[in-house]
């Protein structure tokens, strides 16, 4: 058994036998751990809300809408409006292999939908079946989203956002019911699962209604797309694809490819990366704030260990006299520090788990608090906390143990 292990064995054997009175330190380390874990858990909760909201918008779609040219091009004046149409969509599919899926969308504001005597005004979209996946329009049980057959046959079917369904039908089941738009009957085929949504996209999806794109054209007339969206393949670079999309449109619609006002892009992939950076930065900040609290506890722990070393100077002198090596002395102090940090940390982790569990069970009505999300404990968070505690334990024990190991045995034995 090496000297380090000898010291640890001695420390473990006599732990709790009057060597130190650590209740205040355990409390301080526990409190610090609780503060750090809760801060990180709130950060994690917010991150999760952001992730959920991002998922609510869709699976990393890039949204494209038309603008107006600001530069003259090939004899055409600036100020010309750009249209997005089916041929453009087909060209993108054909010419850019990095694009995974592409879809067009038509929108109409303030459309009255009636059910019996009840009417609500809403935002109506004509969409393709792939929206179920790329815009995460998942149906509740008992219903479905618009499908290829609906699209091919121009069926009069409608898919409702859950809030819109509540406004129109209240508690009654909507699927199978017939509603009217501009006097034309539509059958409700599904209601969307409630979702949080980051980015408004002409308002939250939960308040919108969707019908097949082909049906939209037959009811409201064939117009240009309000917007298009596409997703890219996993190994593709969104910036590169955007450049190619702009080039295709510039060639087809005849505008300067450098004219950024002609075509607008909402790149949610880039947004996700930026948001992830912000969230990571925030997590680090929250972790630092919590870490500072533990650090204060660590200073208290180090102070207690200094006092302990001072009080046990004669004992350390005796151990040196009977043959304890330096490592046997230092390992006792560092070991005790780690154990105190460990027990305090364990208490703090347990308490924070309890607090988080309680908070998870409290229903939150306030929108601001809903956005903040619920604190969430995770494995990385646990690993970070344990690492911080081990670091604090080692740091707090390092200086006092160094002092103990440097004691002169003769002077230590004479210490009063």
């Amino acid at each position: 058994m090496g000297p380090g292990r000898q010291g640890l064995a001695l420390m473990v054997r006599f732990l709790g036998r009057g060597r130190s009175r650590p209740a205040a330190i355990l409390l301080a380390v526990g409190w610090g751990t609780l503060a750090m874990m809760l801060l990180l858990a709130f950060g994690e909760g917010l991150k999760l809300t952001m992730e959920t909201g991002r998922y609510g918008l869709g699976l990393d779609p890039v949204i494209v809408w038309a603008g107006t040219t600001t530069k003259p091009w090939m004899g055409m004046k600036a100020g010309r409006g750009i249209d997005l149409n089916e041929e453009d969509l087909a060209a993108l599919e054909r010419e850019i292999p990095e694009i995974d899926e592409v879809a067009g969308e038509r929108q109409r504001w303030a459309v009255d939908i009636t059910w019996g005597s009840k009417a609500v005004s809403t935002h109506l979209t004509g969409v393709m079946p792939c929206y179920e996946r790329i815009r995460t329009h998942h149906p509740q049980r008992g219903g479905r989203f618009l499908n290829e057959t609906d699209q091919a046959q121009g069926r009069r079917v409608i898919f409702l956002g859950p809030d819109l369904k509540d406004r129109l039908f209240g508690p009654e089941a909507a699927v199978g019911q017939s509603v009217q738009i501009h006097g034309v009957p539509f059958t409700v085929v599904g209601v969307m699962i409630d979702k949080q949504q980051m980015g408004m996209y002409s308002g939250p999806d939960v308040n919108k209604a969707s019908i097949p794109l082909s049906t939209f054209e037959s009811v409201f007339g064939k117009t240009e797309y309000s917007l298009m969206l596409y997703t890219i393949k996993p190994d593709a670079d969104s910036k590169e694809v955007e450049k190619k999309v702009r080039e295709v449109f510039a060639r087809r619609q005849r505008f300067d490819r450098e004219d950024e006002s002609a075509l607008h892009f909402w790149d949610t992939i880039e947004n996700r990366k930026e948001t992830a950076k912000v969230m990571n930065g925030m997590q680090i900040f929250l972790g630092l704030v919590g870490g500072m609290t533990i650090l204060v506890a660590g200073v208290g722990l180090a102070n207690m260990l200094f006092v302990m070393v001072h009080r046990r100077t004669r004992e350390i002198g005796m151990q040196m006299a009977i043959g304890a090596r330096k490592a046997a002395i230092t390992s006792q102090v560092v070991g005790e520090s780690l154990i105190l940090a460990g027990i305090g940390g364990y208490l703090g982790i347990g308490l924070s788990w309890l607090v988080v569990e309680l908070l998870q069970r409290i229903p939150i009505k306030n929108e601001g608090l809903q956005f903040l999300g619920k604190p969430t404990l995770s494995l990385p968070l646990g690993i970070v906390t344990v690492a911080v505690l081990v670091g604090i334990g080692c740091l707090a024990g390092a200086l006092p143990s160094r002092r103990a190991a440097r004691l002169n045995p003769v002077e230590a034995l004479r210490h009063e």
């Binding site: 000898q6 036998r17 151990q319 043959g323 330096k326 003769v410 034995l413």
Partner: protein, 243 residues
């Protein structure tokens, strides 16, 4: 235990000077000392004569300013801190005036400490500690906390701890200094018994009864050996027996 008559400790020209800033204090001056196996030596002298300094040097707790010190032929002045710790652990047993027992440990656990630092496994430590406590007549008290023991019993535990690694020499600093005369007598008997069993013992003492029991008496005066013989020197400086 050591072979009778072979030199365990050989000190030549040992000088120890304490640097007190502007003032240097010579606690020992040119001390020559040889301790042979099987001797029982009393070191006597007035306060400040250099007894404790000599004890610290013999026990490798301190290093001399000048001179050579060989322990079983090995030059101790060339050893580093870790090697000195090993030497103290294996070859020297300490008995202190104030016992220096861990108050929260049992008698056996106290005796086990030097065995732990020697790297003995748990079971061997336990057996050896029990054996040593038996040797000083405390087997029955082995599971008592040291705070539950009397002064005499505590000193016996300290002696058992000093014996634990079967050292070459036992160094005892005023072993009866904190004990009443009757208890002190009991401790003297333990030392005499150990000496008869072949243990080499060096005692610092003011107790002339204890000194008279020793085979050799060293008197220190102003950092020098003023007397080295088998009898107590009859001089004014020598303190009277405590009782």
């Amino acid at each position: 235990m050591s072979d009778a008559r072979s030199a365990i400790i050989e000190m030549r020209g040992i000088t120890k000077i304490y640097d007190g800033g502007s003032l240097e204090v010579a606690a020992l001056r040119d001390v020559d000392l040889t301790v042979r196996g099987g001797e029982m030596i009393a070191v006597i002298g007035a306060s400040g004569s250099g007894k404790s300094t000599l004890m610290n040097l013999i026990g490798c707790l301190d290093t001399p300013t000048r001179g050579t010190y060989r322990f079983e032929g090995r030059d101790v002045t060339l050893l580093d801190g870790e090697e000195l710790a090993g030497l103290r652990n294996r070859s020297i047993g300490f008995v202190f005036q104030s016992f220096h027992l861990l108050p929260y440990a049992t008698a056996r656990e106290n005796v086990e400490m030097p065995l732990l630092f020697a790297g003995l496994p748990s079971r061997a430590r336990r057996e050896r500690a029990t054996e040593m406590l038996d040797r000083v007549g405390l087997r029955e008290r082995s599971e008592h906390l040291s705070t539950q023991l009397s002064g005499g019993e505590m000193q016996r535990v300290a002696i058992a701890r000093a014996l634990a690694n079967r050292p070459k020499v036992i160094l005892a600093d005023e072993p009866t200094g904190n004990l009443d005369s009757r208890t002190g007598r009991g401790i003297l008997e333990v030392f005499v018994k150990l000496w008869r069993e072949g243990t080499t013992i060096v005692l610092i003492t003011h107790d002339m009864r204890l000194a008279r029991l020793c085979t050799r008496i060293l008197q220190l005066q102003d950092g020098r050996i003023a007397h080295d013989g088998t009898e107590v020197p009859v001089e004014d400086e020598i303190p009277l027996p405590i009782d």
